[in-house]
Symmetry: C2
Subunit: 437 residues, 2 copies
């Protein structure tokens, strides 16, 4: 693609909260951006669903707006396509069209990347175009570029992230106030942290999409949302949070991607999203409010953490613009960034083979031999117990058991068998424990 | 530079802790690196001070070692020069030679970059070569690349960092155990966190060099170590640490680079390194042990933090290799990264004009009117008081005063005048307060 007259021409698809902020910042920081890029960055068209909607005072000509996104993408005078619409279609059609034609793409579309990133990467390779998507995971935090560039001299072993601000706000609030899930969700909705329909957040669809993107980058393999074991956090109770506190832990909705051997000893990747206890001393534990953070473990680098705002118009626009600057520089230099790195082709290890630890609270009959019986069930499934705490009252008692690491399937089977014992009155809570507690 | 037979040939200058780890990792991860870069990375020479020194079992031919670093740099078959020797000369001569000849340079040399980065950047521009130095600040943490790339669509307002692991270990230990500086330093020395001569660390020369590098990148201006106001942390006492605790704070050695107007209203940069109290709720407060972390505030992105190991052979080598992968890719693509961004040319604001807050403990005579007299001194210097705590016993009292933000010169003048009052028996401690406490 030629870049005419030292101007990089951008087509913007979508002008909601993030899009409007991109427009505003491009105007406000025009001189700085020109100095940094060595060329003007100019918006040549903005595709929206409906014209004439009130969008506040944006520093662009009203004539730039169009409802024909595909037509805008196809225009010869477009160098870079920025997509902040979201969803699978029609975004995929637009971006594939742009990339095949050699236009660079900057997108915040985590759902599309997680479901069919392959379509985009393949189109980028075909068209020799750049595909950047920093804003798709953990909003403003410069995270994907470190993963796809800075850490390429190292071997990442594990990525553990708090990548959904809504659920982190809810869990932080439950931890701080002792509130239950429903109450904390209501507060989050009132404050604008949760949407009217919070399903994507609380059932962890959002976090699972981000987990797939992170796993793909960290392990040089294609991982999709369908590969991610997903458990939401609606079942976390005030009593779970209290149990975590007693253990010196807090509960977070974590996305975890790790490499390791599968049952046959073959190197593989396990990716999962679920609520888990982590010790308060862990750097992720103090990530409060709606903040995001991603903890990365690599063989040589050791432990790293990236922290910041995961959502919001301005933070997301910051990430989008950082990408726009990068692809604009590449355009001007007549080059492109390193393409998708998926050479490792690591297979996905099923959740049952992921090594996890469980924290289990049992209401049991206070009879002689109960602990022996319970311990026998763990032993039968080859699950080793780390700690047991027993508090008895009258004729019932509570057993709190924390295991050592074991395959998740063995732990789940242990819980199932415990549930069937007549000395177990109920299983008060089962939570995974992460972060080396 | 041509890259022969899809091999990128590296000259390594220095083979101490970091250099040996670079050699080891290049060998161990050779296949992965080849897959990521699209070419083999091969060490073609290693310059050392003395041959024949025991270096452990390194996966390279003994014939690669040479004492002629300059000769090695000048060899036609060298594409990339990696420098892990440190110090100003002869490193500067070697690197300028390499860059002018179009060879890419990866260096961890913070002292050289902070004292005369201009010589390196100018030579890189002249030779059309890449200059990468991720390992020079905060070791393994991918930080400089986010600053020089990811955040280029945003305007950074402030960078606050814990960038020296030795002093953070000492201060964390003082905070945890109540030990004094000398005792904590001894412990750090025994554990290998402090060198036999700890001057560069405890007198903050190391942190000041890193502050200059961070400020240059964050504010698109050339900042050198000489521009950094530097105060070491040897004067921090156990009693200061205890005072901080009472305030809900901890003491950290911080490097702070911020933009803002100078006395005449002109946009400028202030860069300083000194110990300061920060509230325990601040993300930097929980950075313990010898870890590093850098907190970045930007207009659109908001608050970001980068956390990880700041030193050590493997962590530093991880950063070096990430840079090697980047420059190797650029070589193969026949391109180079964006060059130095110093277009803003912001002037340095002197320390006296930096806006800071003080925490001052005074031993005063317990007489009527003491507080009025003391408050009058603050008012005279136009320093506004945020909180006063007074605890009296017999005929003396302790006044603990925390100010609002004011020019550092006004605060320093206030302290000087307080020192001269006859009702002030002694000034027990003066510490700056950062992080919005």
């Amino acid at each position: 693609m030629s870049v005419s007259d030292r101007t990089v021409r951008v087509a913007l698809l979508g002008c909601g909260t993030v899009g409007a902020e991109v427009v505003r910042l491009l105007g406000e920081q025009a001189d700085d951006l020109t100095a940094r890029v060595g060329a003007r960055i100019e918006i040549v068209g903005i595709a929206v669903r409906r014209l004439g909607r009130e969008r506040g005072p944006l520093p662009v000509d009203a004539g730039l707006f169009t409802t024909d996104a595909l037509g805008l993408v196809k225009r010869d005078d477009v160098d870079v396509v920025v997509e902040v619409v979201g969803g699978i279609e029609p975004a995929r059609t637009w971006l594939v069209e742009a990339l095949r034609a050699g236009k660079s793409v900057v997108t915040a579309n985590k759902a599309l990347l997680a479901e069919d990133g392959a379509a985009l990467h393949d189109a980028a390779a075909e068209g020799g175009a750049d595909l950047y998507y920093e804003a798709s995971v953990a909003g403003a935090i410069p995270l994907l570029r470190p993963l796809r560039e800075s850490l390429h001299g190292d071997r990442i072993t594990r990525v553990t992230g708090i990548v959904n601000g809504t659920t982190n706000f809810i869990l932080s609030s439950m931890d701080a106030t002792g509130a239950g899930f429903t109450e904390a969700l209501e507060e989050a909705t009132e404050l604008g942290y949760a949407e009217a329909d919070p399903t994507a957040d609380v059932d962890a669809f959002d976090a699972a999409a981000k987990a797939a993107i992170l796993a793909s980058l960290a392990f040089h393999s294609r991982v999709t949302a369908a590969d991610v074991h997903r458990e939401g956090m609606t079942a976390v109770t005030a009593s779970d949070v209290a149990s975590a506190k007693e253990m010196g832990c807090t509960i977070k909705l974590l996305c975890i991607a790790e490499r390791g051997p599968d049952a046959s000893g073959r190197e593989s990747v396990a990716v999962r999203v679920h609520p888990a206890m982590i010790p308060r001393s862990h750097p992720l534990a103090s990530v409060g409010d709606a903040f995001n953070a991603v903890f990365v473990e690599a063989e040589a680098a050791g432990q790293l953490m990236f922290y910041g705002r995961g959502a919001g118009g301005a933070p997301t626009a910051s990430a989008v613009l950082g990408d726009v600057v990068a692809v604009a520089r590449n355009k001007l230099a007549g080059t492109r960034a390193a393409s998708e790195s998926n050479y490792a082709h690591l297979p996905i290890r099923p959740m049952g083979e992921a090594m996890t630890r469980y924290h289990i609270s049992l209401d049991v009959a206070d009879r002689r031999g109960v602990l022996a019986t319970v311990a026998g069930v763990f032993a039968k499934h080859e699950v080793s117990i780390a700690t047991v705490r027993q508090s008895g009252r009258a004729d019932d008692a509570v057993l709190v058991i924390v295991t050592h690491g074991a395959p998740d399937a063995a732990l789940a089977a242990t819980v199932e068998e415990l549930r069937g014992l007549d000395i177990v009155r109920s299983i008060a809570s089962v939570l995974r424990v992460e972060g080396g507690a």
